[in-house]
């Protein structure tokens, strides 16, 4: 139990570059690592830091997310007071300072002002739901309180993708942020993770300030514009972090799970990542299965050859199949004699007998949900 509330923006769309995978779901709802959805990481980060109340802000295409989150019981967030609160966009249609138009995250927060005003905790961690990382948020809150920061910005020395989609900051000697840039890297800069800690009163006043001045973007209108007037501090996270920006990045980050160091940084005994339980039995390997360098989830049934791949829950590989360097999402079925390389198959895809699909590391082929090839 601590004094921090969680807010997750769960509506990032991913854009053209992720189209095949995000046509019917937001980025936080993307399957990841054979068992998870991307949002599981941020939800678990919060719960593991003792956060008991989490609001999830949604916008469109959120059916998949609702189905995944249910009542929040899989994260122990089905509570009488607090717990998980799903915040769909019921109020965007109305009039108001933003005239019912969605403009940015501060506008989204304005639309849930009444929820925000009822927050029981003194601090709020505000996070993008599209980040895969196991963050020590309890430690970040402690640092936030110790430094007396107005806003603590979590950042990483790594680079998480193309710089035009990323934001960067530089730190002064005291850990105070000295510069903030968007879409352009800087010398000695750290990349922002889209996770911030601030007090509840400051959050409320920033939301109302932005609404009154027709401002709507947290990074630009709050962080950049108030760099001089607010105490902004960085919290550097050194562990594994990934963001799904393109199909190729999605592929690469799933493949990262084959690295022991990435797994060790993401899956910690005392900070477990929880997800919706599917009650699948263990994975079964047939007498002639040949599986090497793979991540395999429960409920898989493997009778063919699989190498350097990620098999999600309930994937079925028939005899005589050859799969390499591929990411197969849940309940994919690969029929006998089929060959797959550098492919991503979405949920419930069926690859017919003897079919061949071959992409490349830089251009993996994505097969959209439920397709029959």
């Amino acid at each position: 139990m601590n004094d921090m509330h969680g807010l997750i923006f769960a509506y990032a769309k991913g854009g053209e570059n992720l189209k095949e995978l995000t046509e019917r779901r937001a980025v936080p709802s993307l399957p990841f690592g054979g068992r998870y959805r991307v949002i599981d990481f941020m939800l678990s980060n919060m719960v593991n830091a003792g956060v008991t109340d989490v609001g999830v802000v949604m916008r469109e295409n959120y059916q998949s997310l609702l189905d995944h989150l249910e009542s929040g019981k899989n994260w122990d967030l089905s509570r009488k007071r607090g717990g998980l609160r799903l915040l769909p966009p019921f109020s965007y249609a109305g009039s108001g300072p933003y005239e019912g138009v969605f403009l940015g995250n501060m506008a989204a927060l304005y639309n849930i002002s009444s929820y925000l005003s009822h927050i029981r905790q003194d601090y709020v961690v505000v996070a993008e739901g599209g980040l895969v990382a196991n963050l020590p948020l309890e430690d970040a809150l402690r640092r936030h309180v110790d430094t007396g920061a107005d806003i603590t910005v979590l950042c990483t020395p790594q680079r998480l993708g193309q710089q035009e989609f990323s934001s960067f900051l530089t730190l002064g000697g005291t850990g105070r942020i000295s510069d903030l840039a968007r879409g352009r890297d800087m010398d000695g800069a750290l990349e922002m993770l889209g996770v911030y800690i601030l007090s509840k009163p400051l959050l409320l006043s920033l939301v109302s300030h932005c609404a009154a001045h027709n401002l709507y973007d947290f990074e630009r209108d709050v962080l950049q514009n108030m760099l001089g007037s607010l105490g902004l501090y960085g919290y550097v996270f050194e562990g594994y972090a990934a963001r799904m920006t393109t199909v190729a990045a999605y592929f690469k980050h799933n493949m990262d799970m084959l690295r022991a160091d990435a797994r060790a940084s993401l899956f910690l005994k005392d900070r477990p990542i929880k997800t919706k339980v599917r009650d699948e039995a263990s994975a079964y390997y047939g007498p002639d299965a040949r599986v090497q360098n793979c991540i395999v989830a429960d409920g898989c049934y493997i009778e063919g050859d699989v190498e350097n791949s990620i098999l999600s829950r309930g994937v079925r590989i028939e005899p005589g199949v050859r799969v390499h360097n591929s990411v197969l999402l849940q309940d994919t079925r690969v029929s006998s004699g089929a060959i797959l390389g550098y492919a991503i198959t979405d949920k419930e895809v069926v690859i017919g007998p003897g079919r061949m699909l071959m992409g490349h590391a830089t251009y993996p082929i994505a097969v959209s949900k439920g397709s029959v090839v």
Binding site: G33, I273, K274, A283, R290, V291, V296, Y301, R313
Partner: protein, 404 residues
Amino acid sequence: MRKKECVAMLLAGGQGSRLYVLTTDVAKPAVPFGGKFRIIDFPLSNCANSNIDTVGVLTQYQPHALNAYIGSGLPWDLDRLEGGVRVLPPYVKSKGGTWYKGTANAIYQNIGFIETYDPEYVLILSGDHIYKMDYRKMIAQHKKTEADCTIAVIEVPPSEASRFGIMNTRDDGSIVSFEEKPKKPQSNLASMGVYVFSWKKLRAYLLADEANPASKNDFGGNIIPAMLAAGEKLFSHRFKGYWKDVGTIDSLWEANMDLLAGGQLNIFDPAWRIYARSTGTPPHFVGPAARVSHSLVTEGCEVYGSVENSVIFTGGTVKAGARVKYSIVMPGAVIGEDAVVEYAIIAEDAVVGRGARVGADPSAVNPKDWGVAVVGPAVHVGAGAVLLPKEMAGADVPAKEAAQ
């Protein structure tokens, strides 16, 4: 409380002494099984899948692990506003109170719990059998025949019948007599330890049984014979399918192996899931030089060596060069580099050191010396040490210099 048509009572207090080191610290129903389950998941999942939403779990021996495992009943969808799963340990009453003296006494002591729900029928289950059964069919038969008691039976090979409680029946399925482990069995219908009673009738027999100081307060030994002697209507209910008592080391090992032999017991059926408490571990990793065949491997495992005809439970590790054959590696156990584990049970959190050997192929030893080798929970087998077939390590085994 609203009336419930049927309340299930699951007998989970058995020590399971024939599982030796595996049940030193936990009750038998809490013993891990089949990759990600515990034995009790089978009867609990059967209840959930049969729409029985009120289950009393009678515990007495080493209950902590079992209590924590059952918790609110959420994994089996048994966290209900009314009914749900309740753990029922023996308790002190104003006039004394005792441990559960026998299976019937355990139910007798919980008459008050059952009456809360004013049920028509009570389903008695035991916590040490592996099977998938739709109890609704049995209850439907019980109603149709207007029986006082219906006992589930399964055909066993005649040669093995003397190991079981055998029911002698008429053509219509009604029961003539019951013999516990008969020397000369007259039938091959074995009792599965699954009973449906009309509650009013059972209640009367429980009271009478308790009043009899000579009784051992046992269902098979006292209640059923008393009902038969009094001419009550007892019917058998034929069950066709997989059923196994996993009360011994050999049968526990065999039942796990049976999961690999296709068709015996399908744990992959989405229409009859076996539920278990999830540990929240990531999918398993199979290394670049690993070889896994005809095996079950579970979440949280890391496999770098070879695994053949085996069941690797949640969070197990098989290090590089290790060979695991025809074995059960329970949750969190570690098989060290170049270790060889054959025909063995490696219990929870046990560690088999580098180059150690546990168990052997039956063809490699004299048949009378062969048996499943067991490494107990959290036991460390030192590097290079050897554990022979049939041996059981309940305490750490010191390391030995590897043979040159």
